[in-house]
């Protein structure tokens, strides 16, 4: 089985996961007291007429047998037609894709993940070469500490210090309020302002992630550095830099790929918290508001989209792994 067979196998598995998510999403929201609760309330109200009752049953399609309902639901999930949000009355997919929310979240999550991986890799490699030194124990302790800090609290502290006290950054939001009325400024200023608004949430979400990468890099590097081929490389008289970066890091970086995909779901959780703290207008805040207002179509759609993105991240990491590590294709 070559690379193609491996990819096909992973792809089939991915499809299977998507089906699972669709079913779970159905089951959870079947238990939600949303529409069913409203209908039950209508039924319980002595002044409501059977006609009204029928009307709402028709609207929500509740008079059809469960299998028909499931097929309708299934189809709507596949076509991304999630219905209208109770709050905004717009189609959910429009709220997600065409309002910049998707972009905002991708920007925040993407930039912080890249930053965190870079930070984790660089510090991890440096530290693994000096095991037991004060730099080592300091950075390990620091990453363990950021592990232990609640994300939302870190965000609040950053806001208090850098926004309220020092006034370097805005206290929250994605863009200034007056952009709506005054129009968007020319690009250098636009970029600078956006960067200013991005900084604190970005720092928060990066701090949330980098510790894991640092510890992982350090652990795999330590393991790799004790391999025989590293001893050989050193014996050949290679410079320590070359040994570290060319021989050790290349092999030690593979687990990072898997770890970043596995951590993606957690990062999305961190993004929900970060976006809520900073009032960052992304998908996390959208989901949070939906939960606060019991906006079920949005909740259902958002859960589905987030789960899909985790599945996609896993599939992608499988692909990258398959390309980077030939051994995996022949398992």
């Amino acid at each position: 089985m070559g690379l193609r067979g491996y990819i096909l196998k992973r792809f089939a598995y991915t499809i299977f996961l998507v089906l699972f998510v669709i079913i779970v999403n159905w089951l959870i929201f079947q238990a939600m007291p949303g529409v069913q609760g409203a209908i039950a309330a209508l039924q319980g109200n002595p002044r409501s007429t059977p006609k009204q009752y029928q009307f709402y049953q028709d609207i929500y399609g509740l008079n059809k047998p469960p299998l028909d309902r499931f097929i309708t639901y299934f189809w709507s999930m596949l076509t991304f037609s999630f219905g209208n949000s109770y709050q905004t009355q717009h189609p959910v997919i429009n709220d997600v894709a065409h309002t910049g929310r998707l972009f905002n979240t991708l920007l925040l999550v993407g930039a912080s993940t890249v930053l965190a991986i870079l930070l984790g890799l660089v510090i991890g490699v440096i530290v693994s070469a000096r095991r037991g030194s004060s730099v080592d124990s300091f950075s390990v302790t620091a990453s363990l500490t950021t592990f232990s800090l609640p994300t939302f609290w870190m965000g609040i502290m950053l806001i208090t210090f850098f926004a309220t006290v020092l006034n370097w950054f805005p206290q929250g939001n994605t863009v200034p309020f007056d952009w709506g009325s005054n129009g968007i400024p020319p690009w250098p200023q636009y970029l600078l302002t956006r960067l200013q608004y991005l900084t604190l949430p970005l720092v928060t979400l990066t701090l949330f992630q980098y510790g894991g990468y640092l510890l992982l890099t350090r652990a795999t590097m330590l393991e790799t550095l004790s391999e025989d081929y590293i001893t050989t490389a050193r014996a050949k008289g290679l410079k320590e830099r070359a040994v570290l970066y060319k021989h050790a890091l290349k092999n030690a970086s593979l687990p990072i790929v898997t770890a970043s995909a596995l951590a993606f779901g957690t990062v999305l959780g961190g993004a929900i918290i970060t976006e809520t703290v900073f009032n960052w207008d992304g998908l996390g805040l959208y989901l949070f508001n939906a939960i606060q207002n019991k906006d079920f179509p949005v909740m259902q759609a958002m859960f589905y989209i987030l789960a899909l993105s985790v599945i996609a991240a896993n599939f992608l990491s499988d692909l990258i792994y398959g390309i980077l590590d030939p051994r995996i294709r022949y398992e």
Binding site: L17, F20, V21, V24, I28, A31, M32, P33, R131, G132, V140, T141, L144, T145, F147, S148, L149, P150, T151, F152, W153, I156, M157, I159, T160, T164, A219, L222, E223, S226, L262, G265, T266, L268, G269, G270, I272, I273, T276, L287, F288, I291, Q292, K294, M299, M302, F303, L306, A307, V310, I311, N314
Partner: protein, 493 residues
């Protein structure tokens, strides 16, 4: 049998002792253990020091800063709680000595002051009885001078619901009563004044004698729109203040009065100040340790047990069981945990047991995979084969031969699952989906946010540090255990 049980116990004790010795020789682990002892101590001490729910007890002014801030330049204007009258309800005859009595010297002979016990019709406590035998009008003042030592005003102050009963008063011969507070000698605020015309009836002010109440503000001489608070207007300086009531008889009569007292709520309190309800934040933070530790330990234990069971079975059994269990584990792993938790808690309701169970049920997958891979490599070792050849069943092999070999992994992951659970609970509470009836650290921060008090550092910082402290405790221990048990990380000597 008994002897072997005893040796077993001895052996176990010795093993535990050795384990602890090795553990404590690691600096990180030693720090973690000390922190754990502190955290558990806080959780145990909380209900002893502060029985009951501290959020239901008002101890000082709302948003009071910590008491020690007064020692810093920023705390110059802070004030403490102050109780002006020690026995405002005249419960004992000695209460009479607390007050000074002023009246025209010449008419002193017509006046008498006495303590009277509670009567069935009157207030449930004693009262001060003033009798005048003078046929003409006569004024008398009962007052107490106190020193207000703080440079800033109290957060607010309240007067007792003052009660008075005038016998012999009528429309023609009213008794004039006024309740007042004087700053130094310059300014007098009259809080309530009335002409008592009914004989034998206890009356009190119709409005709340609370500096935040609008009508009381009006009575104190402030306009309704006035931004200045009444307590800031009155207690504007360090000075001697006089609290008192003046009574004017227009003829002979007798007056009973009680509930004469003033309590000022400070703008600073205790170790950590107060929240928006004036509740002691130190007590709340101590109580928070209980909830956070409880949630963390129980849900971590739940998740790790599930992971252990699934991992052991999937690793040991081959074929369909393994495949099905691992596929299910993988499927659960792609569900984003926090969104799923948020959605599920919205469905199931916000209570602590739902939270614990859900966190536990969403936290077993990673560990199950770890255990499975360990079991996979263990089960082909000769000692397992030997056990199987000797006729040991699956259950016995798992329990006696495999479990002891993965127990170190269990410790490590248990220690690392606790902070994850604590942080998840805190995040849930912060997002408004925690158990609103319990004081967890996340809930305290969430309350601060709801009260729009994110700038009140004494409210925000301590619970956050609490979460970080307890999480770090378990992270340190778990990390140290990992370094000890994980052969890949063990240092080569």
């Amino acid at each position: 049998m008994k002897a072997s049980g005893e040796t077993n116990l001895r052996f176990n004790l010795r093993r535990t002792y050795k384990f602890l010795k090795v553990l404590l020789s690691n600096r990180m682990a030693a720090l973690g253990v000390i922190m754990l002892i502190i955290a558990i101590g806080a959780a145990l001490v909380a209900p002893v020091l502060y029985p009951g729910n501290p959020q239901l007890v008002k101890v000082s002014g709302d948003f009071a800063q910590p008491g020690w801030v007064a020692y810093f330049p920023d705390g110059y204007y802070l004030s403490n709680n102050m109780v002006v009258v020690s026995d405002p309800s005249f419960a004992n005859p000695s209460a009479l000595q607390e007050w000074s009595y002023n009246y025209p010297q010449a008419q002193g002979a017509f006046l008498s002051f006495a303590w009277s016990p509670s009567t069935p019709v009157g207030p449930p406590s004693g009262s001060l009885q003033i009798t005048s035998n003078a046929s003409s009008s006569l004024g008398v003042t009962v007052s107490k001078v106190f020193h207000y030592p703080y440079h800033g005003p109290p957060s607010k102050f309240q007067l007792r619901a003052f009660q008075i009963d005038a016998q012999g008063a009528s429309v023609n011969q009213p008794v004039q009563v006024s309740l007042f507070l004087t700053r130094g000698t310059e300014k007098t605020y009259t809080f309530w004044s009335t002409n008592v015309t009914n004989s034998n009836q206890w009356i009190s002010p119709r409005y709340l004698l609370d500096s935040d109440a609008d009508q009381f503000k009006l009575a104190g001489g402030l306009q309704p729109g006035e931004p200045l608070s009444l307590s800031a207007a009155i207690f504007s300086q360090v000075n001697d203040y006089t609290l008192g009531v003046s009574i004017h008889f227009s003829g002979p009569g007798r007056v009973n009065l009680t509930n004469l007292g003033l309590v000022a709520d400070g703008t600073s309190f205790g170790l950590l100040g107060t929240d928006s309800q004036g509740s002691d934040l130190f007590a709340e933070v101590l109580h928070g340790a209980r909830i956070s530790l409880f949630v963390g330990l129980v849900s971590a234990f739940l998740g790790i047990s599930l992971g252990l069971i699934v991992g052991l079975i999937a690793g040991y059994k081959t074929g369909l069981t393994d495949e099905a269990l691992m596929r299910f584990t993988d499927m659960m792993l792609v569900l984003p945990a926090l969104p799923l938790l948020l959605v599920l808690i919205t469905v199931l309701g916000q209570n602590i047991f739902n939270i614990i169970i859900l966190i536990g049920f969403l936290g077993w997958m990673g560990f199950a995979r770890v255990i499975r891979s360990q079991v996979l490599s263990l089960k082909v070792r000769p000692f397992i084969e030997a056990a199987r050849a000797a006729g040991a069943g699956t259950g016995r092999i798992l329990k006696v031969h495999i479990f002891p070999n993965v127990v170190s992994l269990t410790y490590v992951n248990l220690a690392l699952a606790v902070p994850a659970a604590i942080l998840t609970e805190a995040a849930l509470s912060f997002l408004g989906l925690g158990d609103p009836t319990l004081i967890s650290w996340g809930q305290i921060i969430s309350n601060a946010q709801a009260a729009n008090a994110l700038k009140d550092w004494w409210w925000i910082i301590p619970p956050g540090i609490g979460i970080a402290f307890v999480s770090l405790t378990f992270v340190l221990i778990g990390y140290a255990l990992d370094e000890m048990f994980n052969p890949r990380l063990r240092r080569r000597r």
